[in-house]
Symmetry: C2
Subunit: 315 residues, 2 copies
């Protein structure tokens, strides 16, 4: 990157971005002090995430195009979880001067491709140096119906899940042990496939609360329970445990269900719906919302507290 | 930070932010998958920046409150340079687990105070761990007149400057030599005072191009020259060299003008105006725009190329 220089890299990256993910309603894209966007009257949703090499990704576990897809997916998914459509993203990129410029441009290409897949554009960014690759993404989106918050779950609601859950965690477990198969799980980790259309559909179908599973299914269910002041019980028999996860469980000695309950990198959606509502296509009922017990909001599995892995925090 | 934990810190920070800089038109602030903002029909401007400890700031040169002010000022200034008003910001914060939580919360307090000073709100963020403190900011703003780009300068235009220029660079030079005075320069570095109202006023007064000086006066003039396809000549006699900079120049053996020409941390505004236009209050004429020479867009000082320090790049 030192050869190309900061401004050379910015020019290069801006060209990739405008080619791959130009975005709608972008009056001025990357290159000025700020991007200029034409907004329609209504609600804009905005979310931001930081990814640090060695903590959120490893260069030896995924190529830069995949890291770009993952970084974008993680952020696009936050807008999905509000019931919105992602429209514009900015990306800050810090890396050691010794990083090949190709890594950075491949990353941006993957990032822009993932954004383009949902019709979102990359409208700005920043490049600087750091000891480790650090990626800062902010995503903006638009909601056509009221945004679905974490705080709206009501006792009596149905808890439902949409999208793959546990696959990426299985892939991560495999990579962490130095293996590269089952390939389908490794690929699920490297390039998640969030159910991008499901958030808006759920919002339109009357979802009372929603979150994307990024910390882990039970950990994110707990975020909903806390924000809503309710209890949530998950029925483990309703959770799909796909065959490749069973295989990984056998090989590693882990209960494959722990990947489903604790995994967070698939960016599936967890939502609650009124008891009588018909669940939209792709949504599976996995539990119920109840009144909180004497100890306050809590998440249980099959009626009892669960003491296996439930996600992870950064400290 | 490890003691407080990721979610504990997020809660704490969200409370500070909502107290200090709640922001207008924020329907949902920090804490959900995304913030929800009510936008008015029109242009939204967005910009993003990354700051890395040791490269963009040092813990021993400024306290965390000041680092917060600076980080916010740097981003608010980008909106100023478009002729807009900053409305909402997100901040990503990565730090070693050993960083005292107090540093992080003091940083956020300074950041939120600076935002509140222009009426902007902090609407979202992310916290994670990293070897070095890394701060990722995205700022949104609103333009009531057409945004002023870097690309609109025309031959014949007047070049004008608004705000302190070179003070922060002088402060940085002093700190870099282990001193703490002249205090006014050190303070200018620690807590810049960008001319926040000047951008919108300049836009309304018909500025043809505008940029905030963050890479250095001549370096940023070159960004305007390149984007506009023009040449810019700066008249050095029109540049104010304040007494404290003269003192630093004497002490360090540097020509104090180099701080003014090369410095970038004051976030002054550089703009071009049509030849006949009356400059708004606070703006000082410092040069002219001319046709580019045979070698293309260029910046000169007193009609000749300048070979002193002109700014800095990150690689």
């Amino acid at each position: 990157m030192a050869d190309l220089g900061e401004f050379g890299l910015i020019d290069h990256v801006a060209r990739i971005v405008q080619q791959v993910a130009p975005g709608e309603d972008v009056l001025v894209g990357p290159g000025d002090d700020a991007a200029v966007l034409r907004v329609r009257k209504g609600h804009v949703v905005v979310s931001t995430d930081l990814m640090v090499e060695g903590r959120h990704f490893r260069k030896d576990w995924a190529d830069p195009v995949d890291v770009g897809h993952r970084a974008a997916a993680q952020n696009l998914s936050d807008i999905n979880a509000m019931g919105g459509r992602a429209t514009w993203l900015t990306v800050g990129f810090a890396a050691p001067p010794t990083l090949p410029a190709r890594w950075a441009t491949d990353f941006v290409r993957g990032f822009a491709e993932e954004c383009a897949s949902v019709g979102a554009g990359v409208v700005g960014g920043d490049v600087t140096s750091a000891d480790k690759i650090t990626i800062a993404v902010t995503v903006l989106g638009r909601c056509t119906v009221s945004p679905v918050l974490r705080s709206g779950a009501q006792p009596g609601d149905v808890v439902a899940l949409c999208g793959r859950q546990g696959w990426a965690a299985g892939g991560l477990a495999v990579l962490g042990r130095g293996f590269r198969s089952p390939r389908v799980l490794v690929d699920a980790y490297r390039r998640p496939q969030p159910p991008y259309d499901a958030g808006q559909v759920a919002a339109e179908a009357g979802a009372t609360s929603m979150i994307d599973v990024s910390d882990g299914l039970l950990a994110d269910a707990a975020h909903v329970a806390d924000a809503s002041g309710v209890a949530i019980d998950i029925a483990s028999a309703t959770l799909e445990v796909p065959e490749p996860l069973v295989a990984v469980g056998s090989a590693t000695g882990a209960d494959p269900l722990t990947f489903v309950l604790g995994g967070g990198d698939d960016h599936s959606l967890l939502a609650t719906f009124p008891a009588g509502a018909a669940l939209p296509e792709g949504w599976v009922r996995i539990g119920v919302v109840t009144d909180p017990g004497p100890d306050g909001p809590a998440v249980t599995v099959d009626g009892t507290s669960y003491d296996g892995p439930t996600g992870w925090t950064h400290f």
